[in-house]
């Protein structure tokens, strides 16, 4: 059976050239970057070269890049680290209702520790209202944390405008760029970003590696204490092989891949919207080049996902049945979807190696599957 992978927002395979770059660091160049002997120096050199390379990608001149275990750790670090280090300034944090769970759950935990959190709402397409953001900033606001490219509906926020507001009000600005990094240009200086979360396994790098950019001079406490690695902000022996792979991975998605994914994305949207009572969640413009998210009336998303699964198509859904909590996606609810419409959602996210034939086949299978499920559904007959 053909395998069609349309869940690239969940993770991507490691690119062959990334794999090649990493290999020596598992075996002959296995040194600990903190060791003073030649093996240690080799590792240290590879580590720092990787760091420099990734920093250039986002024009990081006034920032440190701290390597972490991934997006979740970076987001936790940004939120908890700045909250605790700036307690003397205040106890208020601003975020949105459409963040990744790791931001929302870190915020919920901070609320238990005595911090106050404002969760900004978004419009029908998932955009933050800049006036609402500005009005929410208080004297005791420490940090604004807003996701760059949304992982579910692909909405890309205007970092520059948000950065400007945060700069004017002298509050830290953090953005989670796990989905957008290397797909959308990011400039830490121009967009006035204080803290930026990135990760490796969404861009054809290995899992278990991520990073947090931190503007110099920002007060932040480490989550993990120990031997003082990573500027004393993240102790623990560096994952050199993973970091080398991460740096290599930042070269993988090229302009032509972005154009290719955008073209296929638009083709997929056009084809799927030929289905009756179906619509696209999230915006048409200012959308991640590889993201689509649809709702289909009268059916349930997890059933649809599994119908695609048996045909070899890997997808994802925001339906309640698919979640551990049995609640529909908080992002889809935040953009105003009724519960029944959030249940009938399907996310298809493209990769650089997706093909036109795959998209055509997916549209066909999707049409058949929606039709079959509507025949079973009590609401499917009109």
């Amino acid at each position: 059976m053909k395998i069609i992978y349309l869940d690239n927002a969940a993770t991507t395979p490691v690119a062959p050239e990334v794999m090649e770059a990493m290999k020596p660091f598992f075996t002959e160049r296995f040194g600990n970057a903190s060791s003073l002997h030649f093996l240690g120096k080799q590792a240290k050199e590879a580590l720092e070269k990787s760091r420099e390379k990734i920093m250039k990608k986002v024009n990081a001149k006034e920032h440190k890049l701290v390597f972490t275990s991934g997006g979740t750790e970076s987001n936790n670090f940004a939120l908890k680290g700045t909250a605790f280090a700036n307690k003397d300034k205040g106890k208020h944090i601003i975020t949105t209702k459409i963040e990744h769970d790791c931001v929302l759950n870190a915020c919920k935990w901070l609320e238990k520790q005595g911090f106050e959190v404002t969760y900004l709402s978004v419009d029908r397409e998932g955009f933050v209202d800049l006036n609402e953001l500005e009005e929410s900033i208080r004297k005791d606001t420490i940090l604004v944390s807003i996701i760059h490219g949304n992982n579910e509906i692909g909405t890309i926020q205007d970092l520059k405008e948000i950065g400007k507001i945060c700069q004017e009000h002298e509050v830290y600005f953090h953005t989670d760029a796990c989905q957008s990094f290397t797909k959308v240009p990011i400039d830490l200086k121009k967009e006035h970003i204080d803290l930026l979360t990135i990760n490796s396994h969404k861009i054809y790098g290995p899992k278990g590696v991520g990073g947090l950019f931190i503007r110099n001079g920002i007060k932040i406490d480490p989550l993990s204490h120990g031997g003082g690695h990573e500027f004393g902000l993240r102790s623990g022996t560096e994952n050199v092989s993973g970091i080398v792979g991460f740096a290599k991975a930042t070269e993988i998605i090229k302009d032509k891949d972005i154009k290719h994914m955008t073209k296929l994305r638009n083709m997929l949207i056009k084809g799927v919207l030929e289905i009756e009572d179906a619509w696209l969640n999230g915006p048409r413009e200012k959308r991640l080049c590889n993201n689509t998210n649809f709702s289909f009336r009268y059916i349930e998303g997890e059933a649809l996902m599994l119908y695609l699964d048996v045909k070899g198509i890997a997808a994802s859904t925001g339906s309640a049945c698919s979640s551990k909590s049995l609640e529909p996606s908080h992002v889809l609810t935040a953009i105003g979807l009724k519960p029944e419409d959030a249940h009938g959602s399907l996310r298809l996210t493209l990769g650089k190696d997706s093909t036109e034939d795959e998209i055509k086949y997916t549209i066909e299978v999707l049409k058949q599957s929606v039709d079959s499920l509507r025949k079973i559904s009590p609401f499917g007959n009109k």
Binding site: S121, R124, Y298, I299, E300, E302, A303, L306, Y307, V310, S319, A320, C321, S322, K324, L326, P328, T333, G336, L337, K338, P339, E340, H343, K375, I376, S377, P378, F379, G380
Partner: protein, 155 residues
């Protein structure tokens, strides 16, 4: 996946519905009732329609297979455990789906008995009341959520 007994029965002797749109699962069961040679009421035909995940559709399909041609008394005794066992197991997070199936079937039998002025077992009356109550709570919750989302739409 090939669910069995999908569909509706026109002029069904009893229909039952369970679940609610807010949690994403709705099941409707239609039954035809006849008497067998012994004079017992049996389910001569049964069909279902389900909006829900694969587990909900599977449990729906399974219960119709388990009770087709069986007496009403037998049908009322089908438990969630029996359905799960017949399916060869369900992940723990999905076990509640089997409740949907037993509830919908009980509602269909309740509907048949009450329409025909027949004696309704006490337990079945209680189940019916419980399902009605839960549906009201869910409808109220749904109204609240939709009120919030439509306000959003206007704004």
């Amino acid at each position: 996946m090939h669910p069995r007994n999908v569909g509706e029965i026109k002029n069904a002797d009893g229909t039952g519905e369970a679940g609610n749109i807010i949690c994403g699962d709705v099941m409707k069961i239609y039954i035809k009732v006849k008497e067998n040679k012994k004079g017992e009421k049996i389910i001569s035909d049964i069909k279902f329609k389900t909006l829900g995940c694969v587990a909900a559709i599977s449990t729906s399909s399974m219960i119709t297979e388990l009770v087709k041609g069986k007496t009403l008394n037998h049908a009322l005794k089908i438990t969630e455990e029996k359905i799960i066992e017949s399916l060869g197991g369900l992940p723990p997070v999905k076990t509640h789906c089997s409740l949907l199936a037993t509830d919908a079937l009980k509602e269909a039998i309740y509907d048949y008995l009450s329409k025909n002025g027949l004696k309704i077992p006490k337990e079945l009356v209680e189940t019916h009341k419980k399902i009605e109550k839960e549906l009201k709570i869910a409808e109220k919750k749904h109204k609240e959520v939709v009120k919030y989302t439509s306000k959003k739409e206007a704004g």
